[in-house]
C-alpha cells in the first residue's frame, strides 16, 4: 500500500509540474503581458522584474518563480490589487471555504437518504417524484435558480432584505442579518449537492439491490432494512465515497457562479476580477491553485479507492 501511495504521489507531482509549466509558459508568452506591466509604477516594476527574472528564458523564469514560492512563500505581486498574491489567497480562501463547507456537509446525509429512499421504492410514486426533482435540479443551471431565488425572496416576499451576502462590517453590526444573508447562496449550493448525490446513490444502490447476494441475505432471514443497510449500502458506497472525500478538497476552490451572484468576496470573485483586469501574475497563481486543487482531489479519490476497494488500484501493476 505504501508503495502504491508513493507511486501515485510521484505521478501527480510530475503531472502537476508539467501542467503548471505549460500554463506558465503560455501566460508569459501572451503578447499583452508587458503592456499591462507598464501601468505599474517604475520602481515596483523594476523590483518585480529583478525578483522574477524578466528578460531571461521562460524556463529559467519558471524555476525562479518556483524558487520564490519555496523560499519566501510568495506567488508574485498582483498588478491591480497591488499586494502579494499569497496574502490575497490566504485572505480569500477561508471566505470561500466558510461558505462551501456547510452546504457540502449538509448535502451528504440528505442526498444519501433521498437516494436510498428512491432506490428502495423503485418505480413507485416516491421514486418518480424524487427522480423528477433530481432531473430538474440537475438541468436548471444554478445561476437561474439563484437569480429566481433572489428575486422572489428579496423583492417579492421580502423575507430577506439584501440579495447579497453581508460584508464583515455588516456582520459585526447585525449578526442576525449577516447570518440570514448567507441562507440563499448556501441553499442553492445545497440543492445542487443533494441532487447529484441523490442521483448517484440511487443508481449505485439499485444496481447492488438487484444482485444475487441480496437474495441470499433475505433468504438467511435478514429484513429488507437490515439487508439494505448492512450489505447493499456498503457496496453501493464504494464508488461514491471516494468522490465525497475528494469533494472536501474542492471546498477550497469556491464556486464562481455563486460568488458572483451573491457578491461573496471569495476566491472565485478574485479570479473574475483578475480576468477582467488582465492581472496576469494573479491569473497565473490562481490557475496553479486550481490545478493543484484538482489534482489533489483526484489523488485523494484514487487513494481512497485503493483503501476502500483494493481491486481497483490505478497503476498498481499487473494483477
Amino acid at each position: 500500500m505504501r508503495r502504491y501511495i508513493l507511486k501515485r504521489i510521484g505521478l501527480i507531482f510530475v503531472t502537476a509540474t508539467i501542467i503548471i509549466f505549460l500554463v506558465f509558459y503560455f501566460v508569459k508568452s501572451l503578447p499583452t503581458y508587458n503592456r499591462v506591466m507598464l501601468g505599474v509604477d517604475p520602481e515596483t516594476f523594476y523590483l518585480i522584474q529583478e525578483r522574477e527574472g524578466y528578460n531571461r528564458p521562460v524556463v529559467e523564469q519558471f524555476f525562479i518563480w518556483i524558487g520564490n514560492i519555496i523560499e519566501d512563500g510568495t506567488l508574485g505581486r498582483s498588478f491591480t490589487i497591488k499586494r502579494d498574491i499569497s496574502n490575497i489567497l490566504i485572505e480569500r480562501i477561508p471566505i470561500s471555504m466558510r461558505l462551501n463547507i456547510f452546504p457540502y456537509v449538509l448535502s451528504l446525509p440528505i442526498g444519501i437518504a433521498f437516494g436510498i429512499w428512491a432506490a428502495l421504492k423503485k418505480n413507485k410514486l416516491t421514486d418518480q417524484l424524487i427522480s423528477i426533482g433530481v432531473i430538474i435540479l440537475i438541468s436548471v443551471p444554478s445561476f437561474v435558480i439563484a437569480t429566481m431565488l433572489q428575486y422572489y425572496v428579496v423583492y417579492i416576499f421580502e423575507w430577506i432584505d439584501t440579495p447579497f451576502v453581508a460584508s464583515d462590517l455588516d456582520f459585526a453590526l447585525n449578526p442576525l442579518r449577516g447570518v440570514t444573508s448567507y441562507f440563499m447562496p448556501m441553499f442553492v449550493m445545497l440543492l445542487s449537492g443533494v441532487a447529484s448525490l441523490t442521483r448517484i446513490t440511487r443508481a449505485e444502490l439499485t444496481e447492488v439491490l438487484t444482485q444475487d447476494f441480496m437474495l441470499l441475505c433475505r433468504t438467511k432471514g435478514l429484513t429488507k432494512r437490515q439487508a439494505t443497510f448492512r450489505h447493499a449500502l456498503r457496496n453501493a458506497m464504494v464508488p461514491i465515497a471516494p468522490s465525497i472525500i475528494g469533494g472536501f478538497i474542492s471546498i477550497m476552490s469556491g464556486s464562481l457562479v455563486i460568488e458572483r451572484i451573491f457578491r461573496v468576496p471569495g476566491i472565485g470573485g478574485v479570479y473574475l476580477e483578475a480576468f477582467q483586469n488582465q492581472d496576469y501574475p494573479l491569473i497565473m497563481a490562481l490557475m496553479m491553485f486550481y490545478t493543484v486543487i484538482g489534482l489533489a482531489a483526484s489523488l485523494i479519490v484514487d487513494l481512497s479507492y485503493g483503501v476502500i476497494d483494493p481491486r481497483i488500484r490505478v497503476g498498481a501493476g499487473k494483477r
Partner: protein, 437 residues
C-alpha cells in the same frame, strides 16, 4: 390402430418442394428496435418535440421580428430601453406592456388620462407605486412631458435632430400630412432642438411601427425576443460543433488506443492523462486572453480536452470486444485491422456513443452559458443567453422579464436535452434501464 390399411395413407407433399415458412412480420433491426423502445417513453418524446421546436425557433426566431432600430440608430433605440413585454391578444398572460413605477404623487399628476392605469400602493415617505401603460408613458416622456413645478416641458420632451433628420421629418410631414413636430425651433449649432411626437417620428423616419416588444427590450433598447434566439442559435451552434469534433477525435483516438493496446495504448493514455489534468477553466481563460473572444476560440477551448471522455469510453468498448470469438473469426478470414475496427467492433459502441453525444451537448451549453454569464466568454459581435441573463440580473428588480425569458429558455433547453438523452440511453441500452431510470 395397427389395422389401418396402408393405402389409406396419403403423402402430404409428394411433388412439392419444401420451403421454410415465410416470416410474417417485418424484421426489426437494432435502430428500429431502439426507436420502438424510445417511443414508449412519453417524457422523452415530449422532450424531443420541445427540443425540435426550440432548435427551429433558434433558426427562424431572429427573423420573425423586423425591428432593428439599435443597429440603425443606437441613440434613438436607447430611449426604448427596458420596455416590458407586449403581445397583442396575450394581455391576460402578462404581455400587456405595463410597468410599475414609484415616485411622488405630483410626478404623475400631469400625465394625461389613460397612461396611469392604477395606483397599487404607497410607502411611508409619501411615494406612490403606480402601474402605467409603459409604451404610452415612454411616448409621453419623449414628446410632451410637463414639469410639475414650472408647468413647462421637461428637457426630455425635446429631441435633438440633425439637419438631415430634420429635413427628412419635414419631407415626411409634407408627404403624409401628419404632424410630427409639435414645437419648432431654429437651427442652433448644427442641430434642431424640437419637440416631436416620438413614435410618429420613429415610424416616418425609421419605419418602426408603434413598438411592441414581444419579450420586452434590453437596457440598450434591443428586442429581447430577437436577441434571445440569436444567443440560442450561437449556443446551439457551438454545442453541436464541439460535440461533433469531440466525438470524431474521441472515437478515432479511443479506437486506436483500445484496439492496438500495448505500447501504443500506454503512450496514448499518458498523453490523455496530462491533458485531463489541465483545468478547463485555465484552457478557456488562456485561449480567450491570447486569441480574443470569438466563437471559434471557444469551440477550440471546448475541444482541446473535451474528447478525452469519449476516447476513454470508446477505448473501454474496444477492450471489451476485441478478444471476442467473432473478431478472431473475422481476423482468421483475413479481415484487415481497419475493417475489424470499423465493421465489427465499432457498431457495438454506436448506441453508447449516440447517447453520450446527446448528453454531452447540454453539458457544453451549460458551461458555455455559465462562462458567458460570468463574463469570461464575452463575444464582441454576438450576444449569448448567458450574457442576456447577466445584464438582466442587474435590472431584475424593475424588469424581471429580462431574466425570466432567458431563464425559462435555458432551463427548458437543458431539461429537454437531458430527458431526451436519458430516453435514448434507455432505448439503446435496455440493460442500463434498471440502473438509472
Amino acid at each position: 390402430m395397427e389395422n389401418i390399411a396402408k393405402e389409406k395413407f396419403i403423402l402430404v407433399q409428394q411433388d412439392e418442394v419444401l420451403y421454410d415458412e415465410r416470416i410474417k412480420t417485418k424484421s426489426i433491426g437494432y435502430y428500429k428496435d431502439a426507436f420502438l423502445r424510445f417511443k414508449k417513453n412519453k417524457a422523452s418524446v415530449i422532450a424531443a418535440i420541445i427540443l425540435i421546436f426550440l432548435i427551429i425557433m433558434a433558426i427562424v426566431g431572429p427573423f420573425l421580428s423586423s425591428y432593428n432600430l439599435f443597429d440603425v440608430n443606437a441613440k434613438w433605440s436607447a430611449r426604448l430601453n427596458d420596455m416590458p413585454p407586449k403581445i397583442e391578444g396575450l394581455e391576460w398572460l402578462g404581455f400587456n406592456g405595463e410597468k410599475q413605477l414609484t415616485g411622488y404623487p405630483e410626478n404623475f399628476s400631469n400625465i394625461p388620462n389613460g397612461i396611469v392605469l392604477r395606483i397599487t400602493g404607497r410607502n411611508n415617505i409619501g411615494q406612490i407605486t403606480v402601474v402605467v401603460d409603459y409604451y404610452a408613458y415612454i411616448n409621453y416622456i419623449y414628446s410632451c412631458e410637463i414639469d410639475t413645478a414650472t408647468q413647462d416641458f421637461t428637457t426630455s420632451s425635446y429631441t435633438n435632430l440633425t439637419i438631415s433628420e430634420y429635413e427628412a421629418v419635414r419631407a415626411a410631414e409634407a408627404a403624409t400630412g401628419d404632424t410630427i413636430i409639435l414645437e419648432d425651433a431654429p437651427l442652433v449649432a448644427g442641430s434642431y432642438l424640437v419637440r416631436v411626437d416620438y413614435y410618429k417620428f420613429l415610424y416616418h423616419i425609421y419605419d418602426v411601427q408603434e413598438p411592441a416588444f414581444w419579450f420586452g427590450s434590453d437596457p440598450q433598447g434591443r428586442d429581447l425576443f430577437t436577441e434571445l434566439w440569436k444567443g440560442a442559435r450561437l449556443s446551439l451552434l457551438i454545442a453541436f460543433s464541439v460535440a461533433l469534433i469531440n466525438i470524431l477525435v474521441g472515437i478515432i483516438w479511443g479506437s486506436i488506443s483500445g484496439y492496438f493496446g500495448g505500447t501504443v495504448d500506454l503512450v496514448m493514455e499518458r498523453i490523455s492523462d496530462i491533458l485531463a489534468g489541465l483545468p478547463f477553466m485555465a484552457i478557456l481563460t488562456l485561449l480567450l486572453l491570447r486569441y480574443g473572444n470569438s466563437p471559434g476560440v471557444v469551440i477550440v477551448a471546448f475541444t482541446l480536452t473535451g474528447w478525452l471522455g469519449i476516447a476513454s469510453l470508446t477505448r473501454a468498448q474496444f477492450y471489451r470486444y476485441k478478444n471476442r470469438e467473432y473478431v478472431l473469426a473475422a481476423r482468421t478470414l483475413g479481415a484487415s485491422d481497419s475493417r475489424i475496427i470499423i465493421r465489427h467492433i465499432f457498431p457495438n459502441a454506436v448506441g453508447t456513443l449516440i447517447t453520450s453525444l446527446v448528453l454531452y451537448i447540454p453539458a457544453v451549453i451549460f458551461s458555455e452559458s455559465t462562462f458567458s454569464f460570468l463574463g469570461i466568454i464575452n463575444y464582441a459581435e454576438n450576444t449569448s443567453v448567458g450574457r442576456l441573463l447577466s445584464t438582466g440580473q442587474s435590472v431584475m428588480k424593475e424588469s424581471f422579464y429580462q431574466v425570466l425569458f432567458p431563464s425559462v429558455f435555458i432551463s427548458l433547453l437543458m431539461l429537454s436535452f437531458n430527458l431526451f438523452g436519458n430516453g435514448l440511453r434507455d432505448a439503446f441500452n435496455p440493460s442500463l434501464r434498471g440502473v438509472e431510470e
